[in-house]
Symmetry: C2
């Protein structure tokens, strides 16, 4: 099945010099993929090579949403931004998904305005994949929603498990609720009520997952409020960066350690590849009437290419339709009973 | 100045075979330290060697709080638990601080009941040290309080900065508010209001710190709700464990990688020492009328010894008195104005 992904080529810290090569590499890797490169035509055209079998189109957009721009201003003031035009292509059906490395808040605001949320979904959630000891885990929400209520956490669980079921062809993915365990009061009020909802939901709910359980692979999907999820994600980035710094410093200490580094280089590189966060780049904005993927702003060609892969997979496996069906089925339990 | 620390020798996963050797090592390391070993005398006595210059006393306690026991039951039902007796020794003034590797919830409940909180402090907070690229950071709360209000976050900031000022002899430690940065709505309501309070507090408030900023050393003290802090701490433990597993697996892959490991061993060990979470063992329960330190339940002799060091430092530097003075000064700004 042919899938077209609209790419906001101007977003992110590096713009076209990352997004365009990543898109060209992606169409070589995925024969079913076509791309629409959205952005300033005069900047994009020079970066193209050949016609790639007609699978690369360019759509001019005159404006660019800045990384630090207010989402409200980006939404109201820049109707011809590359981000907006990419989302519009999903709305019109010309693309089956879109991707941007731009401003998260603006992408969320534009996507909600243009595409709207699915019936039964109050607000979209940001869902990403993280590595675990056993494989990987999908975590949501990572910052689209703060002060989420129990019913939101339930919606996240439905969306996350549906995504995993569709993309990984798992029958009943397990879902856990991010919670704290050892304390006097176990969890806050929202989490306690969410646990009740999840137990009654018919989902494969495995109960609470503590912070360390996320990376131990205790569940296929872990749900949490966006504030907590964002802190968890960023603190992981910080810790990984710190440990990498420590390791590098120790190997650079003196001649002997530098020689040791040389010997250990292939092993260290294999380790680096395995823990490489760029492999996990590409977060889905779930709950919209269309596939929207957010890439890390600092993504390089390799990382941005992986995020394009996420958009392709999400679109190809009918994730939106499946979430929509699932929400409809959950909204009508009385009639079915 | 001589300092006596009461040690709950029965708590934690390993009990006396970790706590007693750790205590004996600590009094060798710290000439100003005396310890009261609290627990079943028949289990503790055989582990002692000599009289250590009269700096080791044993106090019999007939009961033990189980790791999974309900805090309410431990508080009401076990008046002669080693944990309770250790806290009682602080209350009576026989010890200037106590430490336990037992059940966190029970330790918190018993400490609050026996010692009470300081004037102006609604609930104690758990404060620990974490390594950073630049040195280390104190983070609180790590799970004593969920659904903290803005005024609680302010109290945490006062307690954390006072601790750092006292123990590290820093004039005006910087304090940051753990928040999320890139999103449509920056932070939740509580955090926004807490930022206002912190700006007006006279503390050296440096604004929001994102998850990654914690390990980058963006502030001396980082405050957050206990739910968020606990998730951040546990997710860090999980990630570190996963990365260690990956590194080990890569070095064990084949004969070549095993040889590389051998060459790199001194470097890897130096790295391990530097990132060793055991060095940071020992969390203060701040806000009580007495020094109470919680060790990780799984602590070994090295880790438990470090937690004893935390109790000693906290007591020796008059942290409780200084927090008390600071809270009193903040409560009476009108009269001073």
């Amino acid at each position: 099945m042919a899938i077209t992904i609209a790419i906001d080529c101007m977003g992110g810290d590096h713009g076209p010099r990352v997004t365009v090569p990543a898109a060209l590499a992606a169409i070589e890797r995925h024969p079913e993929l076509s791309v629409v490169l959205v952005g300033r035509e005069d900047e994009l055209r020079p970066l193209l090579k050949g016609d790639a079998g007609g699978r690369v189109a360019v759509r001019h957009a005159s404006e660019v949403v800045a990384m630090d721009e207010s989402p409200a201003l980006a939404l109201r003031g820049k109707k011809d931004s590359s981000m907006r035009v990419a989302v519009n292509l999903v709305k019109s059906g010309e693309a089956q998904g879109c991707i941007s490395a731009g401003n998260t808040g603006a992408l969320m605001a534009i996507s909600r305005f243009v595409l709207k949320t699915l019936p039964g979904i109050d607000r979209p959630a940001i869902c990403t994949t993280l590595p675990t000891v056993k494989g990987h885990v999908h975590v949501l929400d990572l910052g689209a929603n703060v002060d989420s209520g129990p019913e939101h956490l339930l919606q996240f669980a439905v969306m996350g498990t549906t995504l995993v079921a569709a993309v990984e062809h798992k029958e009943r993915p397990t879902v856990g609720l991010l919670n704290i365990g050892e304390e006097e009061i176990k969890g806050n009020e929202v989490v306690k009520q969410a646990a009740d909802l999840l137990r009654a939901s018919g989902l494969n709910f495995v109960g609470n997952v503590e912070g360390d359980g996320v990376y131990m692979g205790d569940a296929d999907v872990v749900v949490c409020d966006g504030f907590v999820g964002n802190v968890a994600l960023k603190i992981s980035e910080g810790l990984a960066q710190m440990l990498a710094t420590f390791l590098r410093q120790e190997f650079k200490k003196n001649l002997f350690t530098k020689l040791a580094a040389l010997t250990a280089l292939p092993v260290l590189n294999a380790f680096k590849r395995r823990a490489d966060h760029r492999r996990y780049n590409g977060a889905c904005l779930l709950g919209l009437k269309g596939v929207v993927v957010k890439s890390h702003g600092s993504a390089d060609v390799f990382a941005f290419g992986n995020a394009i892969g996420v958009a392709l997979e999400t679109a190809a496996n009918g994730v939106i339709e499946r979430i929509s069906e699932r929400m409809a089925a959950m909204a009508a339990p009385q009639e079915n009973a």
